[in-house]
Symmetry: C2
Subunit: 221 residues, 2 copies
């Protein structure tokens, strides 16, 4: 039974990679830069996105796809706080988005005239890392309350993420969080990862990340 | 392709439920009560377990299985802080434990003379909820930093958990966390859930939970 499952998974991943490449080409032709945002539940994805969008929306037309198993709180919140176009995607219980699900969501969304598209993936440090969504770049968040040891326990998420953002640094006073060790653990999984230190709620560290994203968009043109 | 995957998943879940029932019988015969602990990464599972074990270890022989994708920090930490028998289980990248994986782990572990066995599942609010591990009870944790809206987004985890523990309440001063709403959302998913409010680091609220677990063990004898 195990072998059968593994075989199906390989097929699924291979098919997914093909779809992801197709989606990347499709978005490139439309001039849209696509960022896949991944993290644990409650790590501050929506708050960071709100901060980033408010810094980038003067320069770029931005859209956000919020993926959750259920609920629509995040899509509403982002729209209320930034005014940009959002869509809520439900995954029917799935723990991640595939490239096909992402493509379907994009088709259901009015993306024409967008320059930048964010996908807030399902809150999960495991499964989303396995599925290429067709994004140009993966950005993962690790919040101070989760602890600095997460790269030791969830290797793939850190390996596939080009950007790692440490969030909620304003709460350091109540947590025993070793930032230096955290950075060392992240680099151990991915020596090329760009690391940003942020407190989106205090608007600290968000601008350097917004500037970096801006430079990626310009370089992709 | 989708149908094929769904069919395999149904078979896997059906097979898993059968294995879980067998494992429950096996442990019942040995007089071992088995608790499956689930939560997001960094929600305080290890700290809560340490607090619980130190309150229960005089009365019961306790064992802990720590499941992670990689690393062994938690198994070492629990053993150092409580002295009880621990084993680290690696899931080869999997986002959850199946009943078979749990059974294999138990076979690799010296469980004779145990009264109480904890499984700390992979940090993940999605996949572990789908797989019955063969436990007598599921206990899930939701930490204050994650926010009160998690039951809205991750329904199954709350539906399958008999015990929901709100953790890290000592950090409320730095988070906008609505405890009343959180309890209401949990009850919406599972009206019978027993809810406990804890700060394991301050040893607050851990004793009522330890007493409840003790009552479950006695009732199961």
């Amino acid at each position: 039974m195990d072998f059968q499952v593994i075989k199906v998974k390989e097929d699924v991943l291979q098919e997914n990679n093909k779809r992801a490449d197709e989606l990347r080409k499709y978005l490139k032709n439309k001039g849209i830069y696509f960022i896949n945002v991944m993290a644990s539940p409650g790590s501050g994805k929506t708050t960071l996105l709100t901060g980033l969008i408010n810094k980038l929306k003067e320069k770029y037309n931005i859209g956000v796809m919020e993926a959750d198993i259920d609920g629509d709180v995040d899509a509403k919140r982002i729209h209320e706080l930034t005014g940009v176009r959002t869509i809520q995607v439900h995954t029917s219980g799935a723990c991640h988005l595939t490239a096909q699900m992402t493509h379907d969501a994009i088709n259901a969304f009015d993306i024409k005239d967008l320059d930048l598209l964010f996908l807030e993936n399902v809150g999960n440090l495991v499964c989303p890392a396995e599925f290429d969504t067709g994004s140009n770049i993966n950005m993962m968040l690790l919040s101070v309350p989760e602890g600095e040891d997460k790269p030791l326990k969830y290797p793939l998420m850190f390996e596939v993420s080009d950007i790692a953002v440490i969030t909620k640094t304003d709460t350091k006073k109540v947590f025993d969080f070793n930032e230096e060790k955290c950075q060392e653990y992240i680099k151990r999984r991915n020596p090329k990862a760009k690391i940003f230190i942020t407190s989106a709620i205090k608007d600290e560290g968000v601008k350097p990340l917004a500037d970096y994203i801006s430079s990626l968009i310009e370089a992709n043109k």
